[in-house]
């Protein structure tokens, strides 16, 4: 997703929208957080950046389950400007 003019990047960076669910959202007190990252960026880069400051360091594990644009994504998955990066606590559906 490369829409979202409201997220115009500064040179050499991208802005993504991080989403948090269930236990993560509850512990964090919010469920959306914009994040700016230097290019190129992966899911793992976003995790490192988020965990560099509390309270996210206490909430998000080092290797969380993640989805990019509503599809399961590995930590090495590349991020693009405007992506929706969701962090998923251990699934318990069904």
């Amino acid at each position: 997703m490369h829409t979202g003019d409201e997220l115009a990047p500064t040179a050499g960076t991208i802005t993504i929208e991080c989403r948090f669910f269930a236990r993560y959202a509850e512990a964090l007190g919010r469920d959306v957080l914009p994040l700016e990252l230097p290019q190129p960026a992966t899911v793992a880069d976003a995790v490192r950046e988020l965990r560099s400051a509390s309270p996210l360091a206490d909430v998000l594990p080092e290797r969380p389950l993640a989805a990019v644009n509503r599809e399961h994504a590995p930590l090495e998955g590349r991020l693009a400007h405007g992506d929706e990066l969701a962090f998923l606590p251990p699934l318990a559906g069904g």
Partner: protein
């Protein structure tokens, strides 16, 4: 009929959605809210989901199953919100010309759904307490 509902699941309606005169074998899986927590009696479970992804992922799971079993028709729903003990939280229906395919296809879809759908459960205890249930 969407994959995601906040109302009670109508299994009969899912069965009707796949019924026809050529698919003689239909298998339905219905997953219901279970008690069995260690911390006390569970009154209900609050199911929350990443709804946009839930819908897309459920669709991918069923597209994959349809590629493997082209003759099988599927219907499926996951319920979200507060679900009382014993009521269905998920239902998968697979109708096939032969029953072995219906069993296999239904089983694959529920296994993938359990593994991949972005859904979380919070136990609501009778004493008012809550706890995230993670398998």
């Amino acid at each position: 009929m969407g994959y995601c509902t906040h109302e009670p699941i109508d299994v009969e309606r899912l069965l009707a959605a796949v019924a026809d005169g050529e698919r003689g074998g239909t298998v339905a899986f219905v997953g219901s809210v279970r008690g069995g927590a260690e911390d006390g009696p569970v009154a209900a479970i609050d199911y929350s989901g990443y709804e946009e992804m839930l819908t897309e992922e459920f669709d991918r799971i069923i597209v994959e199953a349809r590629e493997r079993w082209p003759d099988v028709a599927f219907a499926a729903q996951h319920r979200l919100g507060r679900i009382p003990l014993g009521e269905p939280s998920i239902a998968i229906v697979a109708a096939a010309p032969h029953r072995s395919e219906a069993f296999e296809a239904c089983r694959q879809v529920i296994e993938e759904a359990k593994r991949r759908l972005p859904v979380w459960k919070k136990e609501l205890f009778e004493d008012g307490g809550t706890r995230w249930r993670e398998r």
